[in-house]
Symmetry: C2
Subunit: 134 residues, 2 copies
DNA sequence: TTCATTGCAAAAGTTTTGCACGTGC
DNA sequence: GCACGTGCAAAACTTTTGCAATGAA
């Protein structure tokens, strides 16, 4: 995804395409590792040493607020972010800490009829294949 | 659930039935409102003014560690706890903040074949019926 | 005696906030 | 000029940790 496409995407959402926002979003799109704030920050400042961590917080909040990013809160440690906004589950390996995406069918629910559901998060945890077998 | 039953439950899990633990667990069983630590603390000290918040933290961690409670981490604010350990989803109303339980069928998944799944959490959010209609 | 538990105070860690400074429309 | 975004420092907040005291088996 090039800068022009990102700029257009931001425009549709009513966000200005500042260098900070663009860099943060671009990193998320190109590195789908569900990074936390610290990871995003330490990576983007490699190319942009002047960016502040507060701004990274701001950008991530703005971007998830408008639906371009999904905050992944699979544990209470820190927030991670995902540029894949389609519905899917997240699995966290309790040993290596990695987050894996997985497809899951949309569940039928009983008990929240009539509720307005805006967000669905499915979080599994346990041991990934690699950690299980050693 | 009376104290004797709780004591037996704890014994099966290898936990000593201290007054603190018993009071904390009893509150969770009798008040299924998905309380956070502060709520549990402020309620149990009404009957037991000497209990400390650190101990409430300890109890909640021990009880969820042995499977008697489920930690509900539906947002990054604070951990809530649920004495209903059967599989079900949690819905958080973004307006009133209430947590609702709901039944949901166990989803089929693709992408984590062979993984050892130890915990499944399904978190929905949006507006509850009451908040939606006003 | 021994060992888990309690509880106070302090620490740790992430996220938020206040506020001044720039910048683009 | 005005609204928005940035960024530094400080604050806020939940949760954890160190450690001495307590209590039960």
């Amino acid at each position: 995804m090039n800068t022009a496409e990102i700029k257009e995407l931001f425009r549709q959402k009513g966000l200005k395409a500042t260098p900070q926002r663009t860099a943060v979003y671009k990193f998320l799109v190109e590195n789908r590792v569900h990074p936390d704030v610290e990871t995003v920050y330490s990576q983007v400042i490699k190319s942009n040493p002047s960016f502040s961590k507060t701004t990274v917080y701001n950008c991530l909040k703005d971007l998830s607020g408008c639906g371009l990013l999904i905050p992944v809160m699979i544990d209470n440690e820190k927030i991670r972010y995902d540029a894949d906004t389609s519905f899917h589950g997240h699995f966290k390996c309790e040993k290596c800490g990695s987050i894996f995406d997985f497809k899951c069918v949309d569940s039928k629910t009983v008990g929240i009829e009539g509720f307005e559901i805006k967000q669905k998060d499915v979080y599994y945890s346990g041991l990934c294949n690699h950690c299980k077998n050693k």
